[in-house]
Subunit: 322 residues, 2 copies
């Protein structure tokens, strides 16, 4: 990973995540080689990459973007996809053994200078890298879907990944407009999914005990927490809640926080009866026949929100991004 | 609460929340009587209401807003504030006994047709309403701060509150542009703070165990979860993650969700050493001397985000709001 554009990248596995990564890479000026054993996945990915390049929000394509699709290549094999690569992003099925076998091939075929990254949202990298010769140049780069529209990427090395490799991956991702954060060591669920699952577990508890509907939870998050959190994370938000800062803010609510912690749901199993109840409620709001259309709406709105937020970022966050 | 504007409202307690409610009420065309025993709070509130009326985002005042401040009155007593009121919003200190005494006065002085609402974020309404003669017309209307910029309001009745009173409060709040949701019964922390605290507890655990910094958590939430959740709540987001809907999506991740639930932090006490560490980190990012300026920035960005989102709401949510 040498320069800020014109790098050779490879996307292995071309589902929703792989296609979105490929679109982000090519938009940033890199070439992308796609590999997926399923021709249907490749066709779908090429169509999605085209939509992104042309501007999913309906705006005009920017100068140079007309030729971007010319930097996308379909590879006939994993070897062909990665043999010249500077950066490889794996987005295949979430299966430790399948990933272990794939990373063995990637390590064998990719130049020794290439960084090899996995999109896994749930598998600790040591679980599929332990026996790999080139495990020092492999890591997890976990995006929040879809990565061409949401900037956050979690970088998580294995115990053998070098700091230099993590920094090279971070630099590459910043170059495509992502905002990587780096975990200090590996942990199940990384950060984002642990935070998300903590909230979802409590939400499921509230629905299960009859306090509210799934629609109520969605409104509380969308019109309350999400609106605040799109601008400020929970700690900076707390810090700004008192002119004396975070400690002062927390001390006022210490006892009620502590008793709320005690009152939170402790349910560990996924209750299928509850999941079905939530599913039925959601189908009344968005029938399965409308999901595809709503996915398009979601991506348009995410794209517009990203544009809006990038023009209204406060000074402290601008500094942080540099 | 009879018509959609021109109602007589009262705000008792004029701190940040009370002043923001007052601004929202007066912007919607109602008259507001303010009461606070502290003259300094009243002065600050009047200044903040003026800023909101004039347009905190720097835009031009809309027609009619020039006269809005003429609908704000300072009352010399609680009786004067509420004696003609259609809707009363209490935003005083979070203390059960103080609220109990205040609601006794509100119930005595306000017309029997008035709705009496508390802004409490943490006290179940039965705790201060149990012995009140007019407890059937009282409820919690818990905003997310500041209520003139964030639409969500949680309505939570006591066991004695009538459904009609809750509906009248909901109609009044919809009339000022809020989006009320109604809890089916009272519960500590209502919904928003339980969801928020579930996430914050896990975030504190991640910082405490050295996985990441508070800044990392803030980035994960702001650039990842918050961006998604400003558009879609967690259940509708999951539903759109599979063309076969929510159950299908969850079933793919059922085992890893369940094992993540088991791995989440179970810390119940607020660790002051950790709070101080987070506080120190936050002061490096935003020194106490800059908090006031950053609060202003936050409110400007919240206001602009609200405007942006109100023009990019998908069809399903438009329907929901009507």
């Amino acid at each position: 990973v040498k320069r800020s554009e014109g790098l050779k990248t490879a996307c292995i596995g071309c589902g929703v995540i792989g296609a979105s990564w490929a679109a982000a890479f090519v938009k940033a000026g890199h070439t992308v080689r796609l590999f997926d054993p399923a021709q249907s996945a490749l066709n779908q990915a090429l169509a999605e990459i085209n939509v992104v390049i042309k501007g999913a929000t309906g705006g005009d394509a920017k100068p140079g973007q007309g030729t971007a699709i010319g930097r996308v290549f379909v590879a006939a094999s994993i070897e062909e996809a990665v043999r010249d690569a500077d950066y490889v992003q794996e987005s295949i099925v979430e299966d430790v053994d399948v990933k272990r076998r794939l990373f063995k091939q990637l390590d064998e075929f990719a130049p020794s200078s290439a960084v090899l990254a996995s999109s896994t949202s749930e598998i600790q990298p040591s679980r599929f890298l332990e026996d790999l010769a080139g495990r020092d140049r492999c890591l997890v780069a976990h995006p929040i879907s879809p990565p061409h529209l949401i900037p956050l990427v979690e970088l998580c090395g294995s115990p053998w990944t070098t700091g230099m490799v993590i920094e090279r991956a971070a630099a590459f991702l910043r170059g495509i407009g992502s905002e990587p954060i780096i975990l200090r060591r590996e942990i199940p669920g990384f950060i984002l999914n642990r935070l998300q699952m903590a909230l979802i577990r409590e939400a499921m508890g509230l629905i299960d005990t009859g306090i509210c509907s799934a629609a109520d939870v969605d409104k509380v998050v969308r019109l309350g927490l999400g609106r605040r959190w799109a601008i400020l994370g929970p700690f900076e938000a707390g810090h700004l809640n008192s002119r004396l800062g975070y400690s002062d803010y927390i001390m006022k609510f210490r006892d009620s926080m502590s008793s709320l912690f005690r009152a939170l749901s402790v349910q560990n199993d996924i209750d299928l009866r509850l999941i079905n109840r939530i599913d039925q409620e959601l189908r009344l709001r968005v029938p399965l026949s409308k999901i595809s259309e709503q996915q398009t709406q979601r991506d348009i709105r995410l794209s517009k929100l990203g544009e809006h937020l990038s023009t209204s970022i406060a000074v402290d966050h601008r500094d942080e991004a540099t």
